[in-house]
Symmetry: C2
């Protein structure tokens, strides 16, 4: 049977989602738990995507195949009892044998939270502590340039080698709640550092170091990628994943 699971995690103490030898990663914690559940058989888990070190997930998804007879509720309980307390599976479902957690993603939402107020030690790993004010109006004007189909190469880590950097962003917005500024992006998919680079560059607009229209110029002209800044990971959340099933 193929299962799709929905889970959240605190990225603080993980070296990202993807398995790396000798490092604490979300994927390896799942493989260890599934080994036990699936009659001591090595069981591969296929995530909807990766998150970097320090990035959190309110909703990440993954699929795997196991051969044991177990109810969805018992599978959820078994996973949660075997996983560490910084990962939590909140939903389990069965899917068709041809379902794929990465290839069949229809939309993803990422959020990034910045604290423009006083430093808060209680949220130091969960909200980026910027602790200065930002011009929200100009960032709201700037973020609109990301909406639509664009070649995002200027906003992707230079390590990434791909044929196609075109992605579509359906919605991009900024919400302000007291001294917290939340950036929200919904799109077909996001490449390595893309959200952190978009937010880092929007912050330069909010500081008055770039004009809102510079976002458009950078998107159109890859030679301007030196204007792009990567913001720290601790304010970033993989917030939601939607499938067409």
């Amino acid at each position: 049977m193929r299962y799709l699971i929905h889970f959240s995690y605190d990225g603080t103490n993980f070296n990202g989602y993807q398995k790396q030898p000798g490092k604490r990663c979300v994927e390896s914690e799942f493989e260890r738990a599934l080994y036990n559940i699936n009659n001591h058989t090595e069981t591969k888990i296929v995530g909807a995507g990766r998150t970097d070190r320090g990035v959190h997930a309110r909703c990440q998804c993954a699929h795997f195949d196991i051969d044991v007879d177990i109810t969805l509720y018992k599978l959820k309980c078994a996973l949660n009892s075997l996983l560490p307390d910084d990962i939590h599976v909140f939903r389990t479902e069965t899917v068709d044998k041809d379902f794929h957690a990465r290839f069949m993603v229809c939309k993803k939402t990422y959020k990034y939270i910045i604290n423009c107020g006083e430093y808060n030690p209680l949220e130091r790993n969960y909200v980026h502590q910027f602790n200065k004010s930002l011009n929200v109006e100009s960032m709201k004007e700037a973020i609109k340039y990301f909406i639509g189909k664009h070649n995002f190469k200027s906003f992707v880590s230079e390590e990434v080698i791909k044929e196609n950097f075109e992605r579509e962003i359906f919605d991009a917005s900024i919400d302000v709640n007291d001294s917290k500024v939340t950036f929200s992006f919904t799109g077909t998919g996001f490449m390595k550092y893309q959200v952190r680079n978009m937010v880092g560059t929007l912050v330069k607009v909010g500081k008055g170091k770039l004009e809102p229209s510079d976002i458009k110029r950078i998107l159109e002209d890859e030679s301007l990628r030196n204007l792009v800044t990567t913001i720290k990971p601790e304010g970033l959340y993989l917030d939601d994943i939607m499938y067409n099933i």
Copy 2:
């Protein structure tokens, strides 16, 4: 000069506020920082009160005397640069030589947050993960019995030896926000485990294991202290301290 400082901390990685040999405590972090600021002189800090291991503070206060010529703003910056990132001083002020951060407290507010919804790994150290529903109406009825002047001996750790267990609670209330239940207590002062014992026992009312009026019976009859339950520390916040100055 005597200074009064207001600060917050994340209690997760501290063995409480009070200094203990060989353990990481809030007080010793301050004494280390003040030693540097006060020309390498051992400098005592007097806190408004202690918090247990794992308990957080949104506003804790303390006073100390230092002999260096420093502005309030620079003192704040110096402390924050020397303190670890899970403590933050947000206000510094000068006070009279006879001001005392513990003896002159007029009111304190403690809050306790319980998550009655799905387990949240991102808040596991900041909200008590109860993850089941509670009867809020009966807890709201029960919490009223704590308001007023009472002998709180039944609700204080048995380790505590005092002549007088009488304290006054000015306000006690319960707020519900989605699946989070927040208990709030404002009073003259709270003794060891008092808030955790009051909340732990209110939770028994919320589970239907005690009647609201049992709170009154326990307050009046110390032989019923076996009905009192101590709840875990991670949902507890020292929220505010008020002085009459």
